[in-house]
Symmetry: C2
Subunit: 401 residues, 2 copies
């Protein structure tokens, strides 16, 4: 089944890659318009397995692409030319969508249970991180042909669930093994023989991770104990170090309605802003000493804590029951300067490339709001069905996204 | 003459902006192919008034657009959708080039002597900085229609040459008045009534400037005396402060073969790397204290000192007679790790968005070399006539470019 999928879609993608839309567009595709792709984006419509394609210059909905399967907890990366979106579904489906023809140009069922993916800096490899079977798989970004399968085996016959996959410079990817308490770095520069570096004993149950914007520090959250595991990727060989003991699941005193997304962590100047787990606080950490330097009380349990591209403000959304609110922190004063209520069940936020606007999805309000980050005025509202993740093509130019 | 130009090109651009290429392409345009624009770029071919359009994924030359006038010291910004390049010529020509149809879609002679420009974060305003007449002018990015003319008048009837123009968040732009020793910030959010904030007495003869990647600190180099003028743009009202006394023209002991381009200054982590003026050194500065923390001996008088997107390495080129060399500094050790000789008269360098490659123009070798930033291997060589500036569409997503 997988192989048949692979061949069909590879062939299709190959044909489409040759370019001109009149010959290339599948039936469901819209009449393609010659246009730039630097201001495009997508919104995941989780309930209907649909991807909405949007234009961030005119703040409009350009079209919708259906048939992407189970998009709960879906994530998206973009091709290097910002024409294609690669959508990782929870059901193990990896779908390549052409934003110009608004059509699916490739789709493979690559695992039984998947939790996202990444794309290499040169744009040639798309890599998925999987729960079942536990491991990562690399695909040719043009054809979606399988390039390499790297099981996360940590004991004879035992495969770990993989979390926290991020791209690194070169064709390298870092990720964490939930069941093995280990961080691994796999280098695909020789795709036939991927080389994996193991960093064991990082702590129990890493549940998510991020890499700092410069690609230097990989940080994994630990579900099984206090603190976080930090790896300096510029060190040879890379070593793990425990930071922020007292942070995390272990000191938990409140029920946790939703584990924070570490990928959302904000680094502004030399400070990082972290969601406290369970507590109604955002932690402020010095990124040189990795010591906590402050805590900011907020309106609920933070889920995403995101810095504007300029680092001037940090935006926070919350777990139920406070998930109708968004708060904005001024990083020069550490004060909350605004509380917004854009609609029930705020699930995600995405900044325009230079940060003049933020797009906020409110699932239960069936709405995506575009907010001016300076005046906080609502610039546009898009009505869409149960929106969750919002992703812009400018991510293609960034490390660790 | 200017006005007639304006109307013709405005109409043309308006027509073209409506989209589909078959109706839109002027005669000289190549048959447009439906494609993404996130991996496009341009190389300025100074001698022939030509713009070469390149593809950074396949490292190929896609085409050339002629008729751009005097491109000495030309600079380029990109439209928000990364489809169009705006080219500022030394002769005051502002040309809008469609990277997809490879055609000029708008051109105005907007001044007698121009020194570059910038584009607003929302992509709506293109602003030129001019020597004659001294001041800045804002144009509609779609039509190139003049939106606002802001002369740099500093005494009755006296207009200053303008340098160091950068975009700021909002529709604001910061720039320096060479003849008045003043920094100004003009806000075009009400285009009919642009509002200008003046910061006087910053020091004699600011000759160039830059804004830090987060848009917070505006720094002008002073030709007339030692040191640099620093403005914290997040302060209300913004105030000027002198930094690095002992740096600059005043302490000059060597002949200066070419003034460094401040725009090239590298900020890596909390350190900035600055070209010493005249001396064969790169200065290392702490961006919190703005104190000098080190000097790195290099192979000549540095012109551009540029950090890789990840800040891991800083690349330096030089003034004559050392302009056939490029040196690479490791920012973790402050040591030079490689000296390259890509060809005579290295004028500019540009990194791919995630920094896996750097494109280096060697004017007298009629060559642009693509170098792997990790292995330093040459990945490709493009033969073009007298290349100078290299600019990639990923700049559209960055502040201060």
């Amino acid at each position: 089944m997988n192989r048949r999928h692979l061949l069909t879609t590879a062939a299709a993608a190959g044909l489409l890659a040759s370019g001109c839309a009149s010959t290339a567009s599948p039936p469901q595709a819209a009449a393609p318009v010659l246009r730039g792709t630097g201001d495009l984006g997508v919104v995941v419509l989780r309930a209907s397995g649909t991807l909405a394609i949007i234009d961030t210059s005119h703040r409009t909905l350009l079209g919708q692409v259906t048939g992407l399967g189970d998009l709960s907890h879906a994530s998206v990366v973009f091709s290097r030319d910002t024409r294609y979106a690669f959508v990782f579904g929870r059901d193990g489906g990896l779908t390549k969508v052409d934003l110009l023809t608004q059509a699916i140009v490739g789709r493979v069922m690559q695992a039984g249970n998947s939790i996202g993916g990444a794309i290499s800096a040169d744009g040639r490899l798309v890599v998925a991180q999987n729960y079942t079977p536990g491991g990562i798989k690399a695909f040719d970004a043009q054809t979606l042909a399988l390039v390499a399968d790297v099981p996360a085996e940590y004991a004879p016959g035992k495969l770990s669930r993989v979390v926290g996959l991020v791209d690194l410079p070169g064709q390298r990817f870092a990720y964490s093994l939930f069941d093995a308490g280990e961080i691994r770095i796999t280098d695909f520069s020789d795709p036939a023989h991927p080389h994996t570096t193991r960093i064991p004993n990082i702590g129990r149950q890493p549940y998510d991770a991020l890499v700092t914007p410069n690609g230097r520090h990989y940080i994994a959250g630990l579900f099984g104990e206090d603190g976080l595991a930090l790896v300096d990727l510029w060190q040879e060989p890379p070593k793990v170090r425990r930071i922020l003991n007292g942070y995390g699941r272990g000191e938990q005193t409140l029920p946790v309605y939703k584990m924070p997304h570490l990928r959302g962590w904000a680094v502004a100047g030399r400070r990082a802003y972290l969601p406290a787990i369970g507590h109604h606080e955002v932690l402020v950490v010095d990124t040189e000493s990795w010591q906590e330097v402050g805590r900011i009380p907020v309106a609920g349990q933070p889920v995403f804590v995101m810095a504007q591209p300029d680092g001037r403000q940090v935006w926070v959304n919350f777990a139920v029951p406070d998930y109708h609110r968004v708060q904005v922190i001024d990083t020069t004063t550490q004060q909350i300067v605004r509380t917004l209520e854009p609609g029930k069940a705020v699930l995600h936020m995405e900044f325009t490339p230079r940060g003049e606007s933020v797009w906020i999805s409110s699932r239960d309000a069936n709405r995506v709001s575009v907010i001016d980050t300076h005046s906080f005025a609502t610039q546009a509202v898009l009505e869409v069905d149960s929106p969750s993740g919002v992703f812009f093509t400018s991510r293609a130019a960034r490390l660790g996204f």
